[in-house]
């Protein structure tokens, strides 16, 4: 082959293949960014952070009128059961306010939410930096061709042949069954009691370190939702703190809720009203996260609070 021909062939191959690949990804649009069909529920196949971040561009604003921002604490709260609103559960495993903002800001810049639910848990103030580099504007272009995109395709294909379970459903709700399988079963009652005795890492329930920047990010998150006209609801999830650290946790939670307005809804599941839920060891599968049935109870409580307000 002559050099000129080699050069032309190679450059044509590069541009041809790259264009075809980008074109195919644009057409397939797995994150519903470019040619989103409304009312098409898309589960999170893999790469939770990237996928939920990209869903913020179009999928969530187009298909939902409510959003829940939280961490893994609220990951399996089935928001599809919330009545009167279509709420996307944008909780992230280990997510904090900085990461919640990356999703919410995209959503609010492109659509209108009627309801924004914020989980008021110390995890939201755990650091003021995103915990991974997989939620940035580069991912937008990555949806036209990137390694996470290929992983997403692979996961979807494996799902079809029954070798993969989606991480979240079309509402963003976690499927915690693989986690339960990894932890053998729902933690037995006596072990849970031990967990409550402080044998597992529950530091997040009563952090010793207070990150002021993270607090400000959390406040700004709520303020942004309020500015766009969304009804605000803050939910303190049920939980137990390490013995002797209740005061610290309560003070932390109060600080998180400090900027709420009288018209905002506050649902504190650590109040005595929810003692039975919190003290039932079967409510938690690892001492910290709610089992699906307890999460359903939490959602039902949210429903009652919303209905009470609308009356």
């Amino acid at each position: 082959m002559k050099m000129k021909r080699w050069l032309a062939t190679t450059i044509a191959l590069i541009f041809g293949c790259a264009s075809a690949f980008v074109g195919a990804n644009y057409w397939l649009d797995p994150y519903c960014i470019f040619r989103c069909r409304p009312d098409r529920l898309i589960p999170v196949a893999t790469n939770e952070r990237t996928t939920k971040y990209l869903f913020g561009f179009n999928y969530i604003p187009r298909n939902f009128d409510g959003i829940l921002i939280g961490s893994s604490i609220s990951g399996n709260w089935n928001t599809a059961r919330i009545r009167g609103y279509k709420v996307y559960n944008a909780s992230l495993s280990g997510g904090n306010a900085a990461e919640g903002a990356l999703i919410l800001n995209n959503v609010l810049n492109r659509g209108k939410m009627r309801l924004a639910i914020f989980i008021a848990h110390p995890a939201m103030g755990d650091g003021h930096e995103p915990k991974s580099g997989s939620m940035n504007s580069q991912e937008y272009w990555g949806s036209l061709g990137s390694i996470p995109l290929l992983q997403d395709y692979a996961a979807r294909i494996l799902r079809i042949v029954g070798r993969h379970r989606d991480e979240c459903d079309g509402y963003g709700v976690y499927d915690i069954s693989p986690l339960l399988a990894a932890h053998a079963v729902v933690v037995p009652q006596e072990k849970v009691l031990n967990i409550f005795g402080g044998q597992v890492n529950m530091a997040a329930s009563a952090p010793d370190f207070v990150d002021e920047i993270a607090f400000r990010q959390y406040e700004e998150l709520i303020a942004h939702a309020r500015r766009t006209g969304a009804a605000i609801m803050a939910v303190v999830p049920p939980g137990r703190s390490r013995p002797g650290k209740e005061e610290k946790r309560n003070a932390y939670t109060e600080r998180l809720l400090a900027d709420l307005m009288p018209e905002d809804l506050i649902l504190d599941m650590n109040s005595s009203e929810f003692d039975s839920l919190r003290q039932n060891p079967g409510s938690f599968w690892d001492g910290l996260h709610l089992t699906d049935s307890a999460a359903d109870e939490a959602i039902e409580t949210i429903n009652r609070t919303l209905e009470h307000k609308s009356r």
């Binding site: 082959m1 080699w6 050069l7 190679t10 450059i11 191959l13 590069i14 790259a18 996470p148």
Partner: protein
């Protein structure tokens, strides 16, 4: 601007080539050089425009002094002008390099300052020695700021490149230059975005939190950094060589399979070769000449001094000085060993060389001496021997899935693969090589679009 960015690959590089070859075709060689100079300044100022205010005065100052050096008939005057040129260059570099450490300032280190200062120091000395003719201002500006090597080398001597500028566009087969350039660039791009960035994730995971590493983990992360810096810097050098080649210019090779070395002397003949040449010619030789008698002992002392300076050139931390000093001492010991004519089995020699390079690079990567010692301590077998929990806690499973193949293939290639110089010699315009280059670039683009493009390690020096 980064070589591994879409802006560079899809607009800057094509625009440079098209403009350059159009001007060359119109027999406008001066225009072609001005074009290259303009775009070199755009390339250099792209990340931070103010960087130009650091480089341009340096170019003008050194050009002026080089004219003065050459104009002097009297040897003493020539020497005086040489020192008048060298001292401000060293001071200029030292100010930016060490002010933060010494004066507590927070200046950002200007891109490529170490490299363009060193190239101009080489040029001044060559002018003084009569080895290099004085450049006119256009040639000198282009020689210093030429975009393929301005940010991080390879260190190129004026007499190597200026002669080529004078013959710009004279190549008989421009398509061949472009094709070879693309081939070498593709190799460099893959080295950087696929291999170096994968090793970097693993190395960062350990170096960010070295206190709870097992012996196995300490070795994994230290080897990961050794391979990261190799792929990062040799990848950068390949891309620089490829881009220059696409314009018909040959710039020096920088790496020649360094991990095949069986001694430290051999290692420095294969690793960052243009820096090794600089150290030998412009540091070691003058130091050794300053001794009254050249003996093995004086040569070893000169080596240690030269390597210490090279270490300090890399940064203000004591860790860089220790790195340079260790290599200087090892080179000295190696000289004695060589003289003694004792033989070491090849495998043992290779293992000892690699282990030494690997351990000393811990000082190069660690933020300070304390952290470096903490990791080096963990390289020695301890009760926490084989655990990998610290790495597993830092590197998520999904990242490992993506990184696994690059890590495996990268390790094999670094030790046993052909290097880019060898591959370049075997390049032939066949359908197979066309498919290979296109595939490499496509996979590299996929990786580039997946991570935030990472800076090159040597941009910091």
């Amino acid at each position: 601007m980064l070589f591994n960015s879409f802006q560079f690959i899809f607009w800057f590089w094509p625009v440079v080539c098209i403009g350059f070859y159009l001007l060359c075709s119109a027999n406008n060689r001066q225009g072609a050089k001005v074009w290259l100079l303009m775009l070199s300044l755009v390339f250099y100022g792209w990340m931070k425009l103010s960087n130009l205010f650091v480089m341009v005065p340096s170019i003008l100052f050194n050009w002026f002094l080089s004219q003065r050096i050459v104009a002097q008939k009297d040897a003493k005057q020539r020497k005086l002008y040489l020192w008048l040129a060298l001292a401000p260059n060293i001071l200029y570099l030292a100010t930016f390099k060490y002010a933060n450490a010494v004066l507590g300032t927070h200046w950002e280190f200007p891109l490529g300052l170490s490299f363009f200062t060193v190239t101009q120091v080489m040029y001044m000395v060559d002018c003084y020695e009569g080895l290099s003719p004085p450049n006119n201002l256009l040639n000198h500006s282009l020689f210093v700021s030429f975009f393929p090597y301005v940010a991080a080398g390879p260190l190129t001597r004026s007499r190597t490149i200026v002669r080529q500028f004078e013959n710009a566009g004279n190549s008989r087969d421009r398509a061949a230059d472009l094709a070879r350039g693309l081939f070498v660039f593709a190799i460099g791009l893959v080295k950087k975005v696929i291999f170096a960035d994968s090793f970097r994730r693993l190395a960062d995971a350990g170096f960010l939190q070295p206190t709870n590493l097992s012996t196995l983990e300490a070795w994994i992360i230290s080897v990961a950094f050794t391979l990261e810096i190799y792929f990062d810097f040799s990848g950068y050098s390949d891309m620089a060589i490829g881009v220059a080649l696409s314009l018909g210019f040959e710039i020096p090779e920088n790496f020649n399979s360094p991990f095949r070395s069986r001694s430290i002397i051999e290692f420095w003949q294969r690793w960052h070769m243009t820096l090794s040449n600089f150290i030998t010619t412009y540091l070691y030789t003058p130091i050794v000449r300053s001794f009254k008698k050249v003996t093995l002992a004086s040569a070893s002392v000169a080596t240690i001094f030269a390597m210490l300076i090279a270490g300090i050139w890399h940064g203000a931390g004591w860790n860089f000085a220790i790195w340079g000093l260790l290599h200087g001492v090892a080179l000295g010991v190696n000289q004695y060993w060589k003289k003694s004519k004792r033989h070491m089995p090849s495998l043992l020699a290779w293992a000892a060389t690699f282990a030494f390079v690997n351990i000393t690079l811990v000082f190069f990567r660690a933020p300070d001496v304390g952290s470096a010692l903490s990791i080096v301590q963990r390289l020695i077998p301890n009760p926490n021997l084989l655990s990998i929990t610290a790495i597993r806690a830092k590197v998520r499973g999904i990242e490992l899935e993506v990184m696994f193949l690059p890590l495996l293939i990268g390790t094999i290639l670094a030790f046993w693969g052909k290097n880019s110089g060898e591959l370049r010699k075997t390049f032939a315009p066949t359908t197979r090589s066309s498919l290979a280059v296109a595939s490499l670039i496509l996979v590299a683009l996929l990786f580039m679009n997946s991570n935030i493009a990472k800076d090159f390690v040597y941009f910091a020096f």
